[in-house]
């Protein structure tokens, strides 16, 4: 290293600049992550941590009750993710496309207003929707009555078959601003010449969006998909505030995050178990890692050629 720069034989300042960030990041993020992976290979026997290899995972996947809760949570998580992909991202793209149309008035008003739910905490969002959908208060049935659909009302959050979809849609409502903003930014960065060329060829309006702009923003859609994936498989707060740690009714809204919380801290009569909790965290880690790898190696490399 000394030969790289003659004037400063030892460039201590590089280390000084890097040290605080690397230390905090390593100590609070990376080491605990590996610590958690490691803990999942141990078990507490007579107050001692004993190495048990993959036994916790054998319990998690082999024991009937553990396996049932794990697969239930994973399945719910997948449904949660699919609803986001099918509802949140298309709505986000639609709104962004409308916002980026030239000569639109009130643009910044719409942009600011539609992004507001995204900045609210899950606690606010969870409780606000719980109140609005509550049959006691009656805002939701009243509104449905206005459009003559009162018969459709049901206590959605309290019914097993609707609760998960309802929560997913609440989460969609909250986060639609993120795909909207990112796609909006991507649409703005398309060079004007491309659009002008399309207009010269008579491609305007919807077909212009479909044939010219959409292919060009595919990389951003890829990034949004992976962000949605990581966020969804990490979800906890909304379900915890709206349905409690038990993710009721009857675990129909249980996701990996709430399962991890219950396992780690215990609930009702079951004692908390850090080791099984770590095993679940490790499983979540693997799920997220696989998802990110699919994106990085399967999708992103193919999308590269579209970027400017």
């Amino acid at each position: 290293m000394a030969q790289v720069d003659e004037k400063k034989p030892r460039r201590w300042h590089i280390a000084v600049f890097l040290a605080p960030a690397v230390l905090v990041y390593t100590a609070i993020m990376i080491l605990p992550l590996f610590g958690t992976l490691q803990l999942s290979l141990f078990k507490e026997i007579d107050n001692n941590q004993v190495f048990v290899g993959l036994q916790n995972f054998r319990t998690l996947f082999g024991d009937e009750r553990w396996a049932a809760s794990f697969w239930n949570a994973l399945q719910n998580n997948t449904v949660f993710f699919i609803i986001h992909m099918l509802v949140q991202n298309p709505i986000g793209i639609l709104l962004a496309a409308l916002l980026s149309s030239p000569k639109l008035r009130l643009r910044s008003f719409y942009r600011t207003a539609i992004f507001i739910p995204t900045i609210l905490s899950f606690v606010i969002v969870g409780f606000a929707w719980k109140l609005i959908l509550s049959p006691i208060w009656g805002i939701a049935p009243d509104l449905l009555q206005m459009v003559g659909l009162k018969s459709l009302f049901a206590p959605w959050l309290g019914k097993e078959q609707y609760a998960l979809v309802t929560l997913s849609l609440i989460s969609v409502w909250q986060f639609v601003g993120i795909p909207m903003m990112l796609i909006y930014a991507a649409l703005l960065s398309i060079p004007d010449e491309v659009i002008e060329a399309a207009e010269c060829d008579g491609i305007t309006g919807f077909s212009q969006f479909w044939k010219i702009q959409l292919p060009l923003i595919l990389p951003s859609i890829g990034i949004i998909s992976v962000l949605t994936f990581v966020g969804n498989f990490n979800a906890f707060d909304l379900i915890y505030t709206a349905q409690g740690a038990l993710a009721g009714p009857n675990y129909s809204t249980d996701v990996l995050g709430t399962l991890l919380y219950r396992t780690f801290f215990g609930f009702q009569l079951q004692l908390g178990d850090p080791n099984m909790g770590s095993a679940i965290a490790t499983a979540m880690f693997l799920v997220i890692l696989i998802g990110v790898c699919i994106y990085l190696f399967g999708i992103q490399t193919r999308l590269r050629r579209y970027q400017f």
Partner: protein
């Protein structure tokens, strides 16, 4: 003529869709806030009307301020958010400067290492983080939260800031070097002021998840004296489920600070996103 009426129709359609979605986005917030100023009877009798002379009531806010120590929670949230933000920006900018300015062995490897945290959520390490905090006696202190949020915010901060610092002109820095400024002075005096807009973007991105987080306050600092607003509202609402006035008032109190911050910084946030911070 034909063309202009088609574009008029299109713009009406665009406005009606955007307006419809704006209503959907704001309606729940609106309902919560107006009802928090009404008496209990009026909340149930006409939930969608604005409070008037007869139905106006501050009973919910009185209950909240009497029962929950919201000023303390607010102070805790503010301390945690501001301190974490300061550390994220300072440490993040220093690391970003090192990565973008100097060529050294392992530079890109270090960049990759620091970027890992963008994709992998810090929550997965919770079990071990709690152990670490218990071992170092930091449970139920704001320090624990500040450390965790600093670690959580650093990856994105380093990533965005190093992109921006690559664009700072080399001539300027070299002129500083010829004038005998040390590397530290070049960083603090020349580079930092130039990347201020990027710092503001990072600040907004970092601030919102910290202020809104429920998971770490719940696990690392659930004690009464270290509760944040988000956790305080959660616990308070859990206890007062049937007192609708109090619940609505607590929700409104939790909404207002973020809303004000957002409206102040929204231009910055939008500029940051559209400037390609997240390309």
């Amino acid at each position: 003529m034909n063309h202009s009426s088609a574009s008029f129709g299109r713009s009406v359609a665009a406005h009606s869709i955007l307006l419809l979605y704006t209503v959907i986005a704001l309606f729940p917030v609106f309902v919560i806030v107006i009802n928090s100023f009404k008496s209990r009877k009026a909340i149930f009798r006409s939930p969608l009307s604005l409070p008037d002379e007869q139905t106006f009531s501050l009973i919910g806010y009185q209950t909240v301020l009497k029962q929950g120590d919201f000023f303390l929670y607010f102070q805790n949230s503010l301390t945690v958010t501001v301190m974490s933000l300061f550390l994220v920006l300072l440490f993040g900018a220093m690391a970003a400067f090192a990565l973008s300015e100097y060529r050294f062995k392992g530079n890109s490897l270090m960049g990759l290492y620091l970027a890992l945290g963008i994709m992998i959520p810090i929550r997965l390490g919770t079990v071990a983080i709690l152990k670490l905090m218990v071992a170092s006696g930091l449970v139920n202190t704001l320090t624990a939260l500040i450390l965790v949020y600093t670690a959580q915010g650093l990856p994105l901060a380093v990533f965005i800031l190093s992109e921006f610092m690559r664009n700072v002109s080399d001539d300027l820095k070299n002129a500083g070097r010829i004038d005998g400024l040390s590397e530290y002075r070049i960083f603090f005096r020349l580079v930092l002021p130039l990347v201020r807009p990027a710092m503001a973007t990072v600040a907004v991105f970092t601030m919102i998840p910290i202020w809104n987080d429920l998971w770490f306050p719940l696990i690392l600092a659930p004690a009464e004296e270290t509760k944040t607003v988000t956790l305080g509202a959660q616990v308070f609402i859990g206890q007062f489920v049937t007192n609708w006035n109090a619940v609505l008032a607590a929700l409104s109190l939790a909404i207002v600070p973020v809303l004000v911050l957002y409206l102040i910084f929204s231009r910055q946030l939008i500029r940051g996103i559209t400037a390609g911070a997240v390309k």
